[in-house]
Symmetry: C2
Subunit: 331 residues, 2 copies
DNA sequence: TTGTAAGCGTTATCAG
DNA sequence: CTGATAACGCTTACAA
């Protein structure tokens, strides 16, 4: 059996209360007793039972992180940001991805009423009223990473996808006049994807760029979907002069096809993505894109969460993640 | 306050023991009482307090995952594998990265004697006797991902880096005779790095490939270090005909330099990596490399861990992760 | 089939 | 400054 404070108490000839206090650095404990207790604890290799401690304190040293997927550099950067900052504040990170709505709901339940986590961060990428309702009833501190629409109800980190996309498109369109444009969007149900597409559309309007319905094709954010859709451009129709995509991964898929077809990127054909993943910056020519400071999202989320846990104040803060134009050579 | 079994008991007019049993699907509870209890639980939105449950059971529903870093696709794939499999078995994943030895040791202490995790997976990439000693004293089920050397003491997942590197080199050397070779290794202190380098050396010997000390340059596994070291090849000396690297990332760094210098990859200059990260397969020409099934490492580790937790048997198993040659066009 | 009650390891309150 | 003890919510013998 692992040693407990009871044993220390016996060995030190004091009560468990004193041991508990000594180990918690309670100044009321006299130095001589404290050092005796510390010494014994060290000798028998005492390790506090965190389950007991968490239980009695009614909270834990864990921060939950609920993500839609674990695929992609994007998400792992968030994990990285969260873990780093959480650890430096004495918390562990509980990662989970919600494959379906039931497991999402379960995770939330376990993290909140279940008491598993002291607070949690949840990223939402699709409209889901039931989940939002569930979050409303949560008495556990939480931070939502999502679209703007939830920022008044919860502490939140928002990524202004609309603006990022709009700005990028403006930059692209101002560089030259393109004879034809195709847009490969992310999944229709994904809010981020919708916002990015809307940013594109509005920029088109502003630059009097005529866009037809069939010029916007739905992908699923993966490399493969970009590749597949781009192949069809080369098979069926006139090859577009400009391709814009809902994320970098799909842009990279396109680039593979373009390279195979020996078209010169940035000269004969142009492309831009959005996200700013390193991959896009490692290839040559570098991908023109809008960088989203993903790791910062994680860090900021924890920062906000910890603050909420400390102050327990009920006004909702919102932090907007900065995006930055990366001028590559594909435009 | 969150509802407890006490409240359910009061509402149902039974004892808390009965409630506890009913909710745990104890067959001894008669159907009528069970359904009444279930009904009430649902109505008042009862959620078991996991902290209490874990505490009383003396174990938790968490699986710890201790990684050396969270950088790199490599690690995030492991997280993905672990999380997926753990979740489907009712466990949550507690990720942590050990920036320094103290925090590593703390995490282990918390996961084991602290009781935080029901079991844990730890990846070790550098020799560290104190940590190994600490692991020996652990009474918590654990799986080590590491070099072969620990496989007799612990349940372990080993990546046969030596063999992977050796096989790759054999393939490379058998394709053609190269006039000059450079090897960019990972950090000297990293065991995986050492094994890969040794595999390379032995393959050289077998193919009577003369290698001098200065032909092996130490990098740090990053894209940047590959880039930097490769640049020096172009500045100072005769450009090598073949470059082999300790991982894909560094190979990609080299490729950037090679492309800049307009040398034709796979024709004028040859390169191969090791890891099999997607990046290497997205570029053109595709990188010749040895794929390590990273996600599988995570999955297998959990599988092994859960088995150990169930059977509580003390013989140590070892699972070797399969590697696969990816014939790209850079060789 | 159900109830009573002990107990898990810790913290925190109240007395001394 | 220290000790005795209740309390946290749940599980699980043991009794009924």
């Amino acid at each position: 059996m692992a040693p407990t404070i009871k044993e220390i108490a016996k060995l030190a000839g004091v009560s468990i209360a004193t041991v508990s206090r000594a180990l918690a650095n309670d100044p009321k404990v006299i130095a001589s007793t404290k050092s005796k207790i510390d010494e014994i604890a060290r000798k028998i290799n005492y390790q506090p039972n965190l389950l007991a401690r968490n239980f009695v304190k009614g909270t834990s040293n864990l921060i939950g992180l609920i993500l839609p997927h674990l695929y992609d550099e994007f998400y792992s950067d968030i994990i990285k940001g969260v873990e780093k900052y959480a650890q430096s504040n004495g918390y562990y990170t509980l990662v989970t991805s919600s494959s379906d709505e039931d497991s999402l709901s379960d995770s939330i339940a376990n993290f909140t009423s279940g008491g598993l986590s002291a607070g949690f961060i949840i990223m939402l990428t699709s409209e889901n009223d039931e989940i939002v309702e569930q979050l409303r009833h949560s008495h556990t501190p939480l931070v939502v990473i999502s679209d703007k629409s939830l920022s008044r109800e919860f502490n939140s980190i928002t990524i202004n996808n609309y603006e990022a996309s709009y700005k990028l498109c403006k930059y692209v369109f101002s560089k030259k006049k393109y004879s034809s444009v195709k847009y490969i969007s992310g999944p229709k149900s994904n809010i981020d994807s919708q916002m990015r597409r809307d940013g594109f559309k509005d920029a088109c309007r502003e630059f009097s760029m005529p866009i037809k319905k069939k010029d916007i094709i739905e992908g699923d954010f993966t490399f493969e979907s970009g590749e597949k859709i781009c192949k069809e451009f080369f098979y069926e129709e006139k090859i577009p002069e400009l391709i814009l995509t809902g994320n970098d991964m799909m842009a990279l898929g396109c680039i593979k096809v373009i390279n195979k077809n020996k078209l010169k990127l940035g000269e004969e054909i142009f492309i831009a993505g959005i996200d700013g993943i390193i991959l896009g910056q490692m290839i040559s020519p570098r991908l023109t894109t809008m960088k989203i400071q993903t790791e910062l999202i994680g860090t900021n989320a924890v920062k906000m969460l910890l603050e909420q846990m400390k102050n327990n104040n009920h006004k909702h803060r919102n932090s907007n993640v900065v995006t930055e134009l990366l001028k590559g050579n594909t435009i």
